[in-house]
Amino acid sequence: MAWLEKHVPKMVLAPSFAVILFFVYGFIGWTAWVSLTRSRLLPRYDIVGFIQYQRLFDSPRWDTAISNLFIFGFLFIVISMFLGLFLAILLDQKIRTEGMLRTIYLYPMALSLIVTGTAWKWILNPGLGIEAVVRGWGFENFRFDWLINPDYAIYTIVIAGVWQASGFVMALFLAGLRSVDDEIIKAAQVDGIPTLRIYSAIIIPSMAPIFLSAFIVLAHLAIKSFDLVIALTGGGPGYATDLPATYMYALAFSRGDIGQAASSAMVMMMVVFAIVVPYLYSELRAKND
């Protein structure tokens, strides 16, 4: 009985641990293994080396997917952070309607990206959307056809992505602004330092950890972006707006090229881990200290 009492915690945790071990780490291992084989429609298990990765990096479609990830990721992160910080500072000025405004800025985060994509696909469609509205105002030559223009379609993903996530960044920064020590701010105000200076020299630098968190979350969202592209452009026109996530899905489920799908998934995972692992490691260490 005493033995049982002593080991109950382990036995309770064991099933979850086993599940994680198998379905996360075991599956990563499986994918890594298959990415080193010649698997096509069915997995094969004889390792041949890095030919799938070679094929991947020779593929122009993957090339597009990767450069799209950089364009989208960079703009998405920078604009969301900038907008989020700007809104947080504006909201921090003792606004009476703050609660309502916060609710409005943040609600997109509750929506499915498929819903967001559907809405923006309609708003941005050249025939009846914004283009038609502006033309209706008398600007007959106004053109806004990014959605169907292969060179600009990726920016429509940025527009919709920023709309969805910037309110969330605002909430993060607002919490950060509120956690700065009031005494310091009051002291600065007494010294007659202008508000802008207080923000740029005192408050914002003290929020470095929040910048890091926001960056990690946004980068993570960007790399995993799949739903938004599917709903907004379907990866098109052609494959102009493919991202690694949509590439992987297409190869796995429509093309039946498991080896390629596995290798692209592994590259995605390495990108995520390169960003997240150092962050998590330092967080966990800080906690244990």
Binding site: P108, I114, I123, D227
Partner: protein, 299 residues
Amino acid sequence: MTDITSENTGRPLAHAVRNILLRWLLLALLGLFALYYLMPLFVMLTTSLKSLEEIRTGSLVALPREVTFDAWAKAWSGACTGIQCEGVRPFFWNSILLAVPAVFLSTLFGAVNGYVIAHWRFRGSNLIFSLMLFGCFIPFQVVLLPMARVLGIMGLAGTIPGLIFVHVVYGLGFTTLFFRNYYVTIPQELVKAAKIDGAGFFRIFWSIFLPLSLPIVVVTVIWQFTQIWNDFLFGVSFSQSGTQPVTVALNNIVNSTTGVKEYNVDMAAAIIAALPTMLVYVIAGKYFIRGLTAGSVKG
């Protein structure tokens, strides 16, 4: 602006005028951004209430001249998702059948796991926690292929129980994290005292921890519900025509290429698909935000 600032020193009136102007500018900016965030919702709603004829001849941003709920009726029970033309209703039901048990199970496991990791540490429990935590961050693409095969072997391929299983497995990391972070704030002395009084592992959980857990249960349930309801990747990968969740059905309706493009039906379907999570957000926004920040900052 500049001439006011240059002479404001020592002039209280000019100073006050400047402050009022700045205040108005601030409010105007905030209002403008509110419009930006609300615009898509407004467009969706008005479009869904217009007839196709009015959509073609009228403006995107105009209010409907004649309000009609035909598009809503069609989106709910008549729109085509591929060859099937039953609207989003059966898929909405699928999402409920899927989300309710998945949310319940992952929250339950998360609570028990968090309890063990926070108060019954043993050698290796921290390592287990770290491994679970890292699991939250993997891009799910890396498990799609083996999961499809394993679901097939388990006989769960293309079924709702299969999807429930997937959501519980990959939700465990986050739910455990939520509960662990909440339970570490409960003093260890409380557990010690209960042990001295002869209470065991389950008794302490049941009579001390569970009654204190309401706030974190709400946060976790909302987080998991939003995640699972809004999921698309697992839904599209592991379901078949009868078992698809509502997000997949919505995407099929919008991107079906047959017939005339019915934007009003698309928008009505999108609002229907968004309604449950929007409702949760409006009713319990505070907890929603808490989950978001807890899931990201401390994750």
